[in-house]
Point group: C2
Chain length 697, copies 2
């Protein structure tokens, strides 16, 4: 065990204490009341799981996709690896003939943002949507063939959410039939643009269109920004990386400033708005409601992704909580081979209260994302025939859902990390890194603290329509339904008389609907009849968006459990349905408990009923506890993806932690260089001072 | 503006748009209703501020204390700089003859954990407390002269909070009068030990004392662990760094495993427990209640520190919210030189609702920490005379306070960061880095999710004493007082009839006291008379600890505003008192609103009163808004400390962001090496594929 030279530090081969993590987690799996595989198929479908099984070993065995250095890398090493991975991905895609679903799986498994990915997420879809035929050939086709790499340059140093406030100008020059892009102020610099810093050679540029001194507001341009030969920025451009961030450091978020940068007329994407060559006549875009559908699709993906983020975090938290033991529980001691052992922390009710609701959130959000997609597809035909009624409700709801669910995800990831105690702070937990990379979800695709207002605005409008009698009843318009029900009796009371009444979906849904409607009616009254300004009401407007979206999620979760018998999805057995029903109830009642004051303001609940809700949450935790590990196993997240010492499938937490620590670069020598530079001189300084002091005495 | 070679990227000299950040923030300062300097003096005292003024320029002008590379460093560079700083600190301390207060200021300003600091925080105090006279000479004196560097090795890979579960053994060997330290399992490895990995040459080691096969549980030892000549670990030890963490990467948290490692008899710290040489007779420690006081002192510092953490975060958030403008507010448009400009985000009520309560939290916690110290000093004499009654309440409260306030700090830092929008995600905000380094406060000095139980246990005990009539009334025992008041009328109702009634401290305090007492009475009833097990009640036990501590903080805040006239502290003027009273009310009512359901369960509040609380919170935000910037200015946090582009005193946010981005290493060349390695080959691969595909057609 002793090291005599200055070589690397290696761990001695110490025995693992009984019961091992593997034994403990196996015991958890033996307790399952349902079949894990059946539930996984219900969540993902068989095809997806088969693809996953095929791809994991390819990545595990590819040196470029190796993750073993991930937690030790400097930013420079990280981003270099990200570019390598992007290059290798093209080769593997061709070799294995990966389709779109495979691609998503690959990037999900590798689990690190990379520069090229933004090309596909932002650059290509914008071109798809806004190019005319000529531009499709010029920009879109080479993009899809990966011959150019693009970025999406909208945000500026001084402007984010308010697109109308963008400062970059694109002035039409009739003489040369060009546009001149210019940054008038420091705050006009394009900023935060993913893959702009050092990667992209093309950019979508949002700039204010100016024709004959008239400002037509922001329009979309596409232009080359770097040489395709030597990658130098084109003359007139200053381009760089904006520096380190909390996460996302594998992407070169960049800045760009324009000094009277000229681009040809064809650069203005012309599917909607156009400028006539020469005359500079402006042709207005035709409004298209079809974009409604696209946005619902994007947001459905975001919501599903928040579900997967929580699935992943709770997998780590729950497995580790089953393995980690702390203190002897004197009232119900844990036994192992006849001896009392320390209790697994998952048996403490405080731990259950923290992490089991996050499992419930994960299921709720995965089903919500799926339901949004189902509705989207169900209505796509109706939309083509000009019928937007059904989707309008969903579209309006999707803003608030994006805001609510990405907050739920970010907070849930962090709560899972914290529930891991001290080791949760180590990068080897796999959750710190994930949290830092996930944080931007609160800001991108609409800042969470802004976009809920779209939902609130719709809710108020719907309320006014119901009051005015101008609303058309519709089976799919949830808002109309709960508002109408509320208005029939605004003094209604919750009918529950025992805690188990709160397991009844009807009781739960009525409470959520009443609470949302009460809040909407109140704010509408204040704004419409008491002159309360919008800005003054923002906190309450946020509350109604939140209340509405929680109603939507709760309803969706319960509905998902009824739907599978009717439709062409894998079936649930009795046991799987039973545990999911408990999970759905926990989701709803936990939300209710957290926001209890909202339910109280309307006097819908009595103090006794509040106690029943709290009691039922505790009872549900007891029901779900034995299935905690199987419920996260059903998320089917491979160890390769988790890259977590704490969340491993096999439960061997401590050997994994020590094996990872052995790779720490500081351990490559027994004595660091800093010893000679700093540590030794400190002692010498101290000894010298002591001698001087003694000499003075 | 164009760059023709592959040199570094430099920003063009673009004009800053009017109104500049500097102009906006000056306008904020002109609105102050009170004198910032007077308030600063009230918070810190004049002496402290004078020391601060003296030290800041010393550090700013010292190359080792320079922060300009901080956000760009790899872990290796970070920790190397930390050691350099530790060395330089010793030199500067001697040169400037710094005392303990100066030292704290220096480390606070530099604001980065460093290996040597733990020597002073953990190693030296343990020796102070537990050495006998011989050991003081042997260990303590050279430690205080910096001739040896120590760490505190308690936590193990498999054991954190449960000290009784530690596995490392220290077996007494009578033959040689030594102890043999050994790690029986992998989970026994010492883990997380700050400064152990590569710095310390001595360690405090917690290990189970075994004499003649009898286990006496964990005891404290001190031993040399590395050579003082070449820094190699001593034979029998495996020592290394545990790897990267979310933060604290400037410290080498380490591991250590013992292979029958022998240390002399004198190594067992013997002020309390002792082992007789030769016979191995064990001499029990005498219980000392004096340690009560020490713990209160440590926890008072922690609480004060949480206040400073929030002061710092809110300084950044508030200043940036004053400078950052977004959207035109149509109902009350912002004017500048007659023109309508975008509104500063601090004028949106949602932003006020998010960040102004954090200013209030900062003030509340700074005053709470100070009050704890005041009580500690007030009672130190009483304790020496054997009177522990007064401090008992404070000691029991301090566990829950540590838990509650460090959660408040961590969550508040993150909320401030998020309130900065996109730029809050940049390391240049100064808050991401701070958050990551601050996270361990939830775990160290007692895991937040465990230690509240100490407070809960005391609350239940006190309740039982009150019920049994065995409690002695005491002016300083807050718990007794509110419990007694509750028991006089458990059906009491809140007397408030208008929203302004909630500005009355009596009304507020009665509500907080009633709510705490109601919760305690209920849990006591369940545990004592309904057989509810402790583990089953953990969630409710957490609630009563929280309720009690919130009562304590609210009471302390209001008391602090009355006290200064009586005692020898700098005085508040009428204006300063007025704004602080609004801040105190906001603190209390915002807490009340967040935990409203707790106040409702007891039926103490009616639904109408709940609305009044919500209304009054909104009204207080309006009162405090004009003083927001002056209130954070009063925290007197120098720019050197903040190291934040967003939180600068002068408001010049955008020039600071661009200046920092210019330093990003990726910008040192216009084209990165990865272009040749990855980006160019991707294009070549794509072009080759296209040609192959065309050839096939």
């Amino acid at each position: 065990m002793t090291t005599k030279n200055n070589g690397p530090t290696r761990f001695p081969n110490l025995p693992v204490k009984e019961p091992t993590g593997a034994a403990l987690i196996e015991q958890e799996r033996a307790k399952a009341t349902f079949d894990v595989k059946t539930l996984s198929k219900f969540i993902y479908g068989e095809e997806y799981l088969a693809k996953l099984d095929k791809i994991v070993p390819i990545l595990e065995n590819d040196s470029v996709f190796d993750k073993s250095r991930r937690y030790f890398q400097s930013r420079d090493e990280k981003i270099r690896d990200a570019w390598r991975k992007d290059r290798r991905f093209l080769e593997l895609r061709k070799k294995h003939n990966w389709d779109d679903v495979d691609e998503k799986i690959v990037h999900g498994l590798y689990d690190q943002p990379s520069p090229y990915r933004l090309h596909y997420i932002m650059f290509v879809p914008t071109l798809e949507g806004q190019c005319n035929e000529e531009q499709r050939k010029l920009f879109l086709e080479p993009s899809k063939r990966d011959e150019i790499i693009g970025c999406y340059a909208q945000t500026e140093l001084g402007h984010g959410s308010n697109i109308r406030g963008l400062e970059t100008t694109a002035t039409y020059i009739p003489e040369t039939n060009e546009f001149e892009i210019h940054s008038p102020h420091l705050s006009s610099a394009k900023w935060w643009i993913g893959a702009l810093g050092r990667t992209a050679n093309y950019a979508i540029i949002m700039a204010r269109l100016i024709i004959h001194d008239k400002d037509y507001g922001p329009h979309t341009f596409c232009a080359q920004i770097r040489s395709l030969e030597d990658h130098m920025p084109l003359p007139g451009l200053t381009i760089g990386d904006i520096g380190p961030k909390m996460g996302y450091n594998t992407v070169d978020n960049g800045f760009m400033m324009f000094d009277h940068f000229r681009i040809p007329h064809v650069s203005m994407l012309a599917r909607y708005a156009q400028v006539k060559p020469g005359s500079g006549e402006y042709i207005k875009p035709v409004n298209s409601k079809l974009s409604y559908g696209g946005m619902v699709h994007v947001r459905a993906s975001i919501v599903s992704e928040t579900g997967r983020a929580l699935a992943r975090s709770s997998t780590v938290a729950v497995r580790y909580a089953a393995v980690r033991r702390q203190f002897y529980d004197s009232t119900s001691p844990r036994k192992w081979n006849g001896e009392t052992i320390e209790t697994s922390v998952i048996d403490y009710t405080m731990v259950q209260y923290r992490i089991l609701p996050i499992i419930a959130n994960a299921y709720a959000l995965m089903f919500t994302g799926r339901e949004m997609l189902r509705l989207y597809h169900l209505n796509i035909e109706a939309m083509k025939q000009g019928n937007f009624d059904i989707l309008a409700d969903l579209h309006a709801t999707s803003s608030g859902l994006k805001s609510l669910t990405s907050f739920m995800a970010v907070d849930g990831i962090e709560e899972c990390r914290r529930s891991c105690g001290g080791h949760g702070y180590s990068m080897f937990s796999g959750l710190g890194h994930f949290y830092n990379d996930y944080l931007p979800s609160m800001t991108v695709e609409g800042d969470n603290n802004m976009i809920y207002q779209q939902t609130s605005r719709y809710l108020l409008k719907t309320y006014r329509n119901v009051i005015a009698g101008t609303a058309q009843p519709s089976e799919h318009n949830l808002t109309l339904n709960y508002l109408a029900q509320y208005l029939q009796n605004p003094k209604a009371k919750c009918p529950a008389t025992t805690p188990t009444d709160f397991l009844n979906p009807e009781v739960i849904l009525s409470a959520f609907g009443f609470r949302a409607a009460y809040g909407i009616a109140k704010v509408a009254e204040q704004i419409d009849h008491q002159g309360r300004p919008w800005n003054d009401a923002l906190v309450d407007l946020h509350r109604i968006s939140r209340a509405h979206c929680q109603y939507f999620i709760v309803r969706t979760f319960f509905t998902a459990l009824q739907r599978d018998n009717k439709e062409n999805t894998p079936k649930l057995g009795t046991e799987e349905r039973k545990i999911l029903q408990a999970v759905a109830s926990l989701f709803a009642l936990h939300v209710m408990e957290k926001d209890l004051s909202d339910f109280v303001l309307s006097s819908y609940f009595s103090a006794e009923q509040l106690e029943m809700v709290k009691q039922q949450v505790q009872d549900l935790l007891k029901v779900i506890r034995p299935d905690a590990v199987p419920l996260v196993d059903a998320f089917a997240i491979p160890d390769y993806m988790l890259h977590s010492a704490l969340g491993r499938y096999d439960g061997n937490v401590y050997p994994a932690l020590t094996a990872m620590a052995e790779q720490e670069p500081l351990n490559s020598t027994q004595v660091v260089d800093a010893f000679e530079e700093s540590i030794k001189p400190m002692r010498q300084f101290a000894l010298k001072n002591r001698n001087n002091d003694s000499a003075k005495l």
